[in-house]
Symmetry: C3
Subunit: 172 residues, 3 copies
């Protein structure tokens, strides 16, 4: 970590409060959130790959990509019937990530403010990240249900569990 | 609140800056944001309920849920025509939440950094949360327009109003 | 900036850590994030405008707006064929903003915790905001491809580049 002259960790922790990389729970949240966000950003790239594989683009100006693929001999005329399925599957997965990973990071930020026990926080983050990875695999392979539903439910429960101490410690 | 040995609230407020639960405006934001996020997460559960009620699922592997419902005698053959409407209504509502509640929390985090007056901040959060609850009721009942439009506009204005002090207090 | 009695900026910076408007990198993030969020919120208004221009609404209760437009002599019967295209283009653009601007703000918040050099942080934020403005123009005019793809890729790279120091400075 790039810390300046005030190198005393304990001192930093006291003076900086919860929102500092000296607080191991915040550093954990930063790491797991970044990994989850990268996984979500990866869905954009994955959707683009599926678009090129199936020749399925959304706007007329994207036709230059189709022409480019034809010139390179990469056209997939035989996949026309199934094209929207693969792209839609990637897009639905991406939307589900938005609906779960973003609330995880935001709920996590407030959760850190309640000064949770480090181990307790770490397991929330671990379970969430693993459940999202499993969810994506289950969605894209696809694995038989209810694998996808259960993996989604695990991550979902982890978010709700993090909001409870926040709601307890504040008055509206 | 679970505070450690440094129990002096005034001291904490001075040393921790704006982003601490000792700052009542931040604690308020945490509470109202968590409630808004829970309301948004609730839309996932609501969509699942609408899918089961109408037997409308998106992927082939979800067919086991249809079979399960048939075995339990819960099939709704007569609702086939309207099924997509109810699910789409829930999904559009969820997307609208994503487009408004997430920017609210993020704009709120920066707004807290400008040290707003507590009362002023609190009314922004209250109006936003109420407007989103009204928006959801107006969307799902559904109530006659322009109820939904007005409730959306209230929350939307609250977010924009919070970004003004942020843009004023910084130079780009 | 509205600072209270503790007016000593240097003192504030030391005692408040990274997440304070006294930290110029955080103030920058707040400004650029707010502008990006306002740009994203603008897509809601833009979609509403496109709906009214084309008379394309999603729910039956919105029919009162169609009637209102007819009474005002603003109906566009001749645009029925193209209506979904314009609205869909606005909606896809909005969704792309959600998929990129929200991760930018969240990754930026953790990036600030790694105490990046101010110049380095500022250029990340500048490139991101410009790339999103260019992306929107390229999407809505529309400009010929690959303008949209390149502008999207620039902003995307900026987010990924910000997560690298976060992942480096923490252990999972």
């Amino acid at each position: 970590m790039q810390y300046g002259s005030s190198g005393n960790t304990l001192n930093n922790f006291i003076s900086n409060g919860s929102y500092s990389f000296c607080n191991p729970a915040f550093a954990s949240l930063a790491g797991y959130s970044s990994l989850a966000l990268l996984k979500m950003l990866g869905m954009s790239a994955y959707t683009v790959i599926q678009r090129f594989r199936t020749g399925s683009f959304i706007t007329p100006e994207d036709d230059i990509y189709k022409k480019m693929m034809n010139q390179l001999g990469l056209s997939h005329g035989n996949m026309v019937g199934t094209k929207s399925d693969l792209v839609e599957r990637a897009r639905e997965n991406h939307l589900n990530d938005l609906e779960n990973i973003i609330p995880f990071v935001l709920a996590g930020l407030f959760y850190i403010g309640t000064r949770p026990k480090f181990d307790c926080a770490l397991w929330h983050f671990r379970i969430f990240l693993l459940s999202r990875l499993l969810h994506t695999i289950a969605y894209q392979v696809p694995l038989p249900q209810p694998t996808r539903t259960i993996s989604w439910l695990l991550g979902y429960s982890s978010i709700i569990s993090m909001t409870i101490p926040v709601l307890r410690s504040i008055q509206l």
